[in-house]
């Protein structure tokens, strides 16, 4: 048999190499085997494992022609300071060839507080744009046609409120909800596990999410109602396998919750999307993307019995790994981002945000954002990486790694199932602990130089302090406060109180869909803090489970 002969030759090769290792030692801490051959693939069943692009199990990609027709959406995450400032940046990005918007909100907005809340002190406009009411949202999208642009909003706990504001702005522009395209992140489980901007406990949070699924399936059919995110799990220090495993486990929990709420799986599953991290190890990342598609399609088809092929597809937005950027020799980050971009494209992403070189130091400047966007354009137009569908398919290494990551993913899913699902696993601190262990190991590997980070623990130089960083003016908080005071003086406060009271009543009725009530409150300019305040009153606050 051919395989027998290959096995013998492989053994001979290994024996020869092992002998020479004393003289020519290999580097330590190498995660994978030395060499991959057909032996690593065993009786590889092409059709079962890979199939064709756009077909189950989607290992090779979710579209039949992938980037030969249209490139991925180049979507740059942006937003800072006020709606006025961010609107300028958005229009700049669209004029520079960006093909979608991605809104970053400041922390008070993400946690459902207005800019004038004492808890917001020092945070207003810092990591994203401050949105207090529909008025800010109108300014944010001024002169941007919401019927044409696709907008992604990184918003989770108060996702329903920001989505309602977006719908209300569109109404004012004369764009009906069925014409809207975009995504809300809306993934609360990873907030509990890794990112921290939660508000309410799991039960009402899951209700809000399923309310959105249901509302959008009827009214905003082209909206991606959730972006189930591994990105932040990876940023918190997980491995590649943990990133997709914990995220798919979260996805299973959302689908379970929606089905329990009475929705039909095929009515909402096609609007679920994912969010991966593009990390440094290029080929491991490619394998991760491929494995994740295979796992999700099996989950949807076999576990949930979805019948619409769209329900089986794992569509993914990607961001390059922010935590891998270094404050040291920041220009090197351009190279890191280029490699991460290659990984995301070879992995078959549907859209991509590339980080800017100065993000380990501050928010990016316009110049550094342009380089990051150009990086995507160079990969798209010049590198050839986007010319063939899944060009790494069939590589012994990539296929073996895809199988391995898939297996590790199933193992985790099984473990989480045994614990009672993702919600319970998070409440028990299991997922957090696994992530932290990986994060600590990474850090120790860096400190013992088992892992080299160029410019950080090797190849350091004496550096001058970086110049020209973007600084958010600290007067943003005052500016927002003034706008709020003016708004509260001008709006119909009786209407606001009435809509908030109606929302409160609806919150107490488990079977009510909250979206219409939130939309009503938003339209009369109730603030984000007021709306979330009502929900906090009824739902209470989540208490974090932390284990170290």
């Amino acid at each position: 048999m051919a395989n027998e002969s290959l096995k013998a030759k492989m053994e001979a090769y290994t024996a020869k190499v092992e002998k020479s290792l004393a003289k020519r030692p290999e580097r330590v801490n190498l995660a994978h085997n030395r060499l991959y051959t057909p032996l690593d693939l065993g009786d590889f069943d092409y059709e079962a494992k890979l199939g064709f692009p756009g077909e189950y199990p989607f290992t090779r990609g979710v579209q039949p022609t992938m980037y030969r027709g249209r490139f991925w959406t180049m979507r740059m995450y942006a937003g800072f300071s006020t709606a006025e400032e961010s609107n300028k940046r958005y229009r700049y990005l669209l004029e520079s060839g960006g093909t979608g918007l991605s809104c970053a909100f400041d922390l008070p907005t993400q946690i459902g507080y207005d800019s004038d809340d004492p808890i917001s002190e020092g945070e207003v406009g810092k990591v994203g744009v401050a949105i207090d009411s529909l008025r800010d949202m109108e300014i944010l999208f001024d002169q941007i046609d919401l019927g044409k642009v696709s907008t992604s909003m990184t918003i989770n706990a108060p996702a329903s409120v920001l989505l309602a504001m977006y719908i209300a702005v569109a109404e004012k522009q004369g764009v009906t909800p069925d014409k809207l395209n975009g995504t809300i992140q809306n993934d609360i489980l990873k907030e509990y596990a890794a990112r921290g901007t939660y508000i309410f406990p799991p039960k009402p949070s899951m209700r809000l999410i399923t309310n959105i699924f249901e509302y959008c399936s009827k009214n905003v059919p082209n909206w991606n109602t959730i972006s189930i995110s591994g990105y932040h799990i990876r940023e918190a220090g997980s491995t590649a396998s943990q990133e997709i495993a914990f995220t798919i486990a979260d996805g299973i929990a959302y689908v379970d919750a929606a089905i329990k709420a009475g929705l039909n799986v095929d009515d909402f599953a096609g609007r679920l999307s994912f969010f991966w991290n593009a990390h440094n190890n290029v080929l491991e990342e490619v394998a991760k993307f491929r494995a994740s598609r295979r796992v999700w399609s099996k989950v949807m088809k076999e576990r949930f019995g979805a019948t619409n092929p769209k329900s089986w597809m794992l569509r993914v937005h990607t961001q390059t790994a922010g935590s891998m950027l270094t404050a040291q020799q920041p220009d090197n980050n351009i190279v890191r981002v280029a490699l991460q971009t290659a990984a995301a494209v070879l992995g078959g992403t549907q859209s991509l945000h590339t980080n800017s070189k100065d993000e380990a130091l501050a928010l990016p400047t316009e110049d550094s954002v342009r380089i990051a966007l150009r990086t995507q354009q160079i990969v798209a137009y010049e590198s050839g990486l986007a010319d063939v569908v899944d060009p790494l398919g069939g590589s012994y290494y990539v296929e073996a790694l895809t199988d391995q990551i898939e297996k590790e993913c199933w193992d985790y899913i099984k473990k989480i199932d045994d614990l009672g699902g993702a919600v319970v696993a998070i409440e028990k601190g299991y997922i957090q602990k696994e992530i932290q262990d990986s994060a600590y190991k990474w850090q120790m590997d860096v400190e013992t130089k088992k892992r080299v980070i160029v410019g950080v623990n090797q190849f350091q130089i004496k550096e001058k302090a970086p110049e020209g960083l973007l600084r958010v003016d600290s007067s943003v908080g005052d500016f927002q406060k003034q706008k709020l005071a003016k708004l509260k003086a001008e709006r119909d406060n009786a209407a606001v109180q009435a809509k908030l009271a109606a929302l409160e009543t609806a919150c107490k009725d488990e079977h009510a869909n909250l979206m219409p009530f939130i939309l009503d409150a938003v339209r009369v300019y109730a603030t984000l803090g007021e709306i979330c305040g009502v929900m906090r009153k009824v739902f209470g606050l989540y208490e974090a489970h932390t284990t170290l």
Binding site: A327, Y440, V446, A544
Partner: protein
């Protein structure tokens, strides 16, 4: 009984990125310190009061959101007001070099920026706790 160095590791403000804080907390534990870990989203008042009650030698704060110029000095001031001054205050996170002199003038002893090995934080604490 030998004195153990006690460190409060806290995240002021609203940002939830606690990877760094947790890694540092573990590393400090492994260096033999007692680490009171208080988690994310604490107000400066909560941090100062916890530091007082726990009678820690060191208050270590991590912040990535850019609110450090407001929040770190506030903790220093509150500790003074409560009569619990004299603790070593250190900070870490995404903090531009340009902000460091101002933070030091406000009473933050040292600022550790991204890429700092944990053992240099350990060494700094050992060298500076009285």
């Amino acid at each position: 009984m030998e004195k153990r160095i006690r460190v409060l590791v806290a995240k002021p403000g609203l940002d939830g990125h606690d990877r760094g804080a947790k890694v540092v907390a573990r590393a400090l534990r492994d260096a033999g310190f007692e680490v009171v870990y208080t988690g994310i989203r604490l107000t400066p008042e909560q941090i100062a009061e916890a530091a007082l009650q726990e009678d820690v030698d060191v208050v270590a704060m991590s912040l990535l959101s850019g609110a450090h110029n407001t929040l770190f000095p506030k903790v220093v001031t509150l500790l003074k007001e409560k009569g619990a001054a004299g603790k070593l205050i250190i900070g870490g996170g995404v903090i531009p070099d340009a902000d460091i002199p101002g933070l030091k003038a406000a009473g933050v002893s040292e600022v550790f920026t991204p890429g700092t090995p944990t053992n240099s934080i350990v060494d700094y604490i050992k060298a500076n706790v009285k």
